[in-house]
Amino acid sequence: MSDDAYAARIFLRSALPLLPLVVEARPGLARGFAGSRAVFQVSARLSADPGLREAELRILGDCCRGADPAAPRAGTHFLVGGGPGSEAPASGGAGTALRAAGTAPAAEAAAEPPLLKTVPGLHPAPELELEFGDLAALDAFFRGRPKGLPKIRGALRGPGLFLSVLRSLLAMGALLGAKEPPAEPGEAALVTRLYLSLLSSGISGLNKAGHPEAAAWARKSPDRVYAWEVEGRPELGAYVRVKAGNSRSARGPWLRSRPFFAMRFDSPASALGVLLEKDDMIAATAEGRLSMLGAPEYGAALGELMKLVGRYAK
């Protein structure tokens, strides 16, 4: 039962948040969401058994935020275009002025809601919702072995949104479920980015969920950063910072100091070779496709946690 909850946490809190990255990388998918202001949500009902439910609530953490205490659920929702009620600025607004001044990033932050934004927890009134009967059903669906379809609310009211969400989820599923590294370099880079983000978020998530192995590792740790890097492609990397039981995962490079330990791949192809278990890690290290920067015993511990995430998210 706990394994179902841990797996659900990884799917809701680590895998689903990758959806915006997929949509951002695929213009066809992005067009499907452009101009919309909506919320869609993926959720699952928790166990009816009070004892099991308590454990699930603890493990799923902020995925249960906003849930009805009488019928608790866990979920993740997405704001499309900032969600309903958010307006894009008319011309001449603050964003335009900032763009004219040349401070484009500030302009973006000030004026443009992201196309798709992930929010852990439940929204009170999503336009579209995919609700699973329990955590096991959610896990099975995302593992590609569905035990039935989720309850879908809002598909008929907003077929356009439903189709865009469905296509995006299928695209993400295809990317994460790839058995072979994609040949096209852009796709390989995207899959690398997704995997490394998933690993860092998964490890941190399992610690926050109190998974015995992950929590023991984080509890003993002084302030350290473990990073996954791809040479020459800092945007593909990810890291997890741990300190005395706390952990935080993030995408991209850790810039504030040298990471305590880093797993560095010489290319996205090398990264996927190792992550998809097509390449032997020792051979990859010997041949320079993978470098472990830091003491090997810490690399071994990190490797075990990566396998743990992989077991739940497979």
Binding site: R13, S201, K220, P222, D223, N246, R248, R256, R258
Partner: protein
């Protein structure tokens, strides 16, 4: 005065100040312009070995340190390379005017070997402690300041001092130092720190007698799962700024350790460089806490003031527990 706290077995491993005397003899044999000067402390400072080998090139100026440095300056002006040896407290304070005006201001090729530095002569009392010399000598323009970690490094420092034109101040202990470099030295270069141990959690920057202690502390910490980088900062001036900045960037925590007042010495030198980096970092100085030391044996005094190996390890643990400001966001990025 008793001061021997080691067994016969220990002395076989300890590097003594005699290494400095031997190194000077070798150098003197190669370079006839080298002369040795002392202020009636030839036996204590071990420059007496040079005097025994080259009696015609060794001068005892008596208990008159100002004259000692004045004569050294005159000899340097005449084309000789004087190695001047007395206690650090006398070099840095009693003869300072001559060091400043006669030697440093004129940029003369005088090499000052200051022995019994820090609290290494602890049992002799505060008049013979020298916890101010690094602060004083750092502020002498044009002066190179060295603080080697053990006998081997001292020998290399003596040779490097000869090869470096201009005034040089070398600070060493009373003689009973633990050996840091068991085998060959990785390479002594003035202004380049030696990374004795790499680590990602914190950087311990030490000089002189505290280098061995920093390494011992690092071993203890490693057993606890903390990985400390240890730098032998044998050159206080010019400081290896690149090593300090790399430590700030890569470990973000720095602990300095010196057998010296925490004011103005190694810790202050490192802080000056690190603060100029513009990066945030956690920092602590270990040393004599801006007071006149009590009297005791060197090891006991270092323990008393918290910069022995146990004090260093405790300080590291304390720093590792500190939070960086505005850095406590533990939400996973989504």
């Amino acid at each position: 005065m008793s001061g021997l706290t080691y067994t016969m077995l220990d002395t076989a491993k300890l590097s003594t100040a005699e290494v400095y005397g031997q190194a000077l003899c070798e150098l003197g044999a190669e370079h006839p312009e080298i002369v040795g000067l002392s202020a009636d402390l030839a036996k204590s400072t071990k420059i007496g070995l040079f005097g025994e080998r080259f009696p015609e090139r060794f001068f005892n100026l008596g208990i008159a340190e100002q004259n000692l440095f004045g004569v050294a300056a005159g000899m340097a002006k005449a084309g000789l390379v004087p190695f001047v040896s007395t206690f650090a407290v006398f070099t840095a304070m009693r003869g300072l005017d001559q060091v400043h005006t006669d030697i440093c201001y004129q940029g003369l090729d005088v090499k000052m070997i200051a022995t019994h530095a820090g609290l290494s002569f602890g049992q002799a009392g505060s008049t013979h402690h020298c916890t101010e010399d690094l602060a004083i000598m750092r502020s002498m323009a044009g002066l190179t300041v060295l603080a080697p970690a053990d006998g081997l490094e001292t020998a290399l420092a003596v040779r490097a001092a000869y090869e470096r034109k201009g005034p040089v101040y070398i600070r060493i202990n009373r003689g009973f130092d633990q050996r840091v470099y068991e085998g060959a030295h990785p390479g002594f270069e003035i202004g380049k720190a030696v990374t004795l141990r790499d680590g990602g959690d914190i950087t311990i920057v030490a000089c002189g007698a505290t280098v061995w202690r920093a390494m011992e502390a690092a071993k203890v910490l490693a057993a606890e799962g903390l990985e400390a980088r240890v730098l032998d900062m044998h050159t206080i001036k010019p400081l290896d700024e690149e090593a300090v900045l790399r430590a700030v960037r890569e470990t973000r925590r720095i602990l300095t350790v010196e057998d010296h007042n925490v004011v103005g010495g190694l810790g202050s030198a490192v802080a000056e460089v690190a603060a100029g980096s513009g990066l945030s970092f956690s920092f602590k100085r270990l040393g004599v806490p801006d007071c006149y030391s009590i009297i005791g044996l060197h090891e006991d005094l270092m323990a008393h003031y918290g910069y022995d190996e146990n004090g260093i390890a405790a300080a590291v643990r304390e720093i590792m527990g500190r939070d960086f400001e505005a850095d406590e966001n533990w939400d996973d990025e989504v």
